[in-house]
């Protein structure tokens, strides 16, 4: 160390590690040992999703809804419409407002109260893929230019947390948007009880695909045990033309450029696979 160093004496501090730290290390080593043998803690291959279920139309009060399970991870998305004013710089466009909430039903790790940084990151990462991936043609939400437009709210609740909420939430959001029908409009008042047969102006089907890095190993669709001890995570938002619309790296670990390029290629295939659950 060759420059100013204020704090060298602190190096001497010697603190006992309590049991929690030891336990975390044991867990990590256990999972790493399995990975070194080319296996995963739940028996999957490295680049394999858990079983996926998508169920639309589960909440009739919502304009659209979808329940998505990836393994034991379970999330519910609902779409509600209302009428508002457009932004001044986009007078003929409606708005898409996406919100994801980590609710304590899903895990003891999720506290009640205002959203924490994990909740906000999840929410924004899902939002980014849908917004940048142009899931909706926002001009198709215009009622009267410069005056009235549809506001499309997608609210996503985590019901059970077993890892990889991003992919599940994104899939649920797209699925719920596809399930949605416009409600009847009478004199600019919404009759929520009567749905029309008109669908939302879906333009693209962006989906998110997430990998975890543990030591030198990279796995698709991490489960809870893997997320708990992972070094880093990377998510790709992929459109149906195989272009990329969003990326988010998370965690204090790192990726090499080559790893990222390789994962991109795999993510394109996996997005296709996910899209098959939407019948597209």
């Amino acid at each position: 160390m060759s420059y100013r160093r204020k704090l060298c004496m602190r190096d001497m501090v010697n603190v006992m590690k309590p049991k929690d730290e030891i336990l975390a290390n044991l867990k990590r080593n256990f999972i790493l040992d399995i990975l070194k043998k080319g296996k995963r803690v739940d028996g999957r291959k490295f680049y394999e999703y858990r079983s996926i279920e998508v169920q639309q139309g589960v909440i009739k009060k919502a304009e659209g809804s979808a329940l998505v399970k990836i393994g034991e991870t379970e999330v519910l998305a609902g779409v509600k419409l209302s009428i508002g004013s457009p932004y001044p710089d986009t007078p003929n466009e409606g708005a898409l407002i996406i919100n994801t909430e980590l609710i304590p039903l899903a895990s003891v790790a999720f506290e009640p109260g205002p959203p924490d940084e994990n909740s906000i990151e999840l929410s924004r990462v899902v939002d980014r893929a849908l917004r940048e991936g142009e899931v909706l043609d926002l001009e198709g939400l215009c009622i009267t230019e410069g005056e009235k437009v549809w506001l499309v709210y997608v609210d996503i609740y985590t019901l059970n947390y077993d890892g990889n909420l991003i992919d599940a939430c994104c899939l649920a959001a797209v699925s719920a948007l596809m399930d949605a029908r416009f409600p009847k409009l009478e004199d600019d008042k919404i009759i929520y009880e009567e749905k029309t047969s008109k669908r939302l102006p879906i333009k693209n089907y962006p989906l998110e695909v997430t990998y975890a890095k543990i030591g030198e190993h990279i796995v698709l669709d991490p489960c809870y045990e893997e997320e708990e001890i992972m070094d880093a995570r990377i998510t790709f938002g992929i459109k149906q033309d195989d272009t990329i619309c969003a990326i988010q790296k998370g965690g204090r670990g790192s990726f090499k450029p080559d790893e990222i390029l390789n994962l991109y290629e795999d993510a394109v295939e996996k997005a296709k696979f996910l899209r098959s659950f939407l019948n597209i």
Binding site: V58, I59, K61, G78, S107
Partner: protein, 244 residues
């Protein structure tokens, strides 16, 4: 008259959803639906869809909040934004804080909290779809989830509302009746003893109407109790027996 109120809500003795005056809506119950929770339940009651998770008993942090002689029971009732006609703003409102309190107090009556000193039991209730009567449905779901978590109770709590619609006393109001009816009387009971552990009322009732509605709500709750026991029996392969 409020805009949106139907002209009549009871026609030839039938209600707008086809029920007779004293009929319950269809009810479906399941327990053990969430992997991470210590206990959980899912309840459909007419158009209500309610998911409930129980975490605990577990240690309470920070410790100075823990009670030395019993478990603390916490309860959070909340509605999904899309559970109602017009999107509900996320986050707790005053109504859900009050409901969380009265639901918790009803459950505290039956749980043997003194068996688990220094701990906390959390009950999370999420209304995924709402159709009138969610507080009764929530209590029913919560006591199933508590049973599923193996938490000792002197009995399940059961619940049902009665009320007044178009001048008639009816059982188990659904949303339109709740919004435009004359009175709503949600009641939760401990079925074995007949004790009333939750009672609220808003609207307008004469003494005779009140007496009739109270009896009716209790009889409704007893029917729901049978469904609760059946659900637990089917899940756990033995007849549900209360503690002690």
């Amino acid at each position: 008259m409020k805009i949106g109120k139907p002209e009549r809500m009871i026609i030839n003795g039938k209600r707008l959803d086809g029920r007779g005056l004293y009929d319950l809506r269809p009810i479906k119950m399941r327990v053990g639906v969430l992997k991470n929770a210590d206990g959980s339940s899912y309840l459909e009651w007419g158009g209500n869809k309610i998911l409930c998770a129980v975490h605990g008993p577990r240690e309470l942090h920070p410790k100075h909040l823990a009670k030395p002689d019993k478990a603390m029971l916490r309860c959070i009732y909340s509605m999904a934004t899309f559970s109602v006609k017009e999107r509900k703003k996320p986050g707790p409102d005053r109504r859900s804080i009050e409901l969380s309190k009265v639901i918790r107090e009803a459950l505290e009556n039956v749980i043997f909290l003194h068996l688990f000193p220094q701990t906390v039991i959390d009950v999370y209730i999420k209304v995924l779809q709402s159709d009138g009567g969610t507080r009764c449905a929530s209590i029913v779901a919560a006591s199933l989830a508590l049973a599923d978590a193996g938490i000792p109770m002197k009995d399940l709590v059961s619940a049902c509302a009665a009320g007044k619609v178009d001048g008639e006393i009816v059982l188990d109001l659904f949303e339109i009746e709740d919004n435009y009816g004359e009175a709503d009387l949600p009641v939760a009971i401990v079925p074995k003893t007949g004790e009333i552990v939750l009672l609220q009322m808003d609207g307008n009732l004469t003494k005779d109407e009140f007496k009739k509605a109270l009896d009716l709500a209790i009889s409704g709750a007893m029917k729901v109790y049978e469904l609760q026991k059946k659900t637990l029996y089917e899940r756990y392969g033995e007849r549900y027996e209360t503690e002690r």
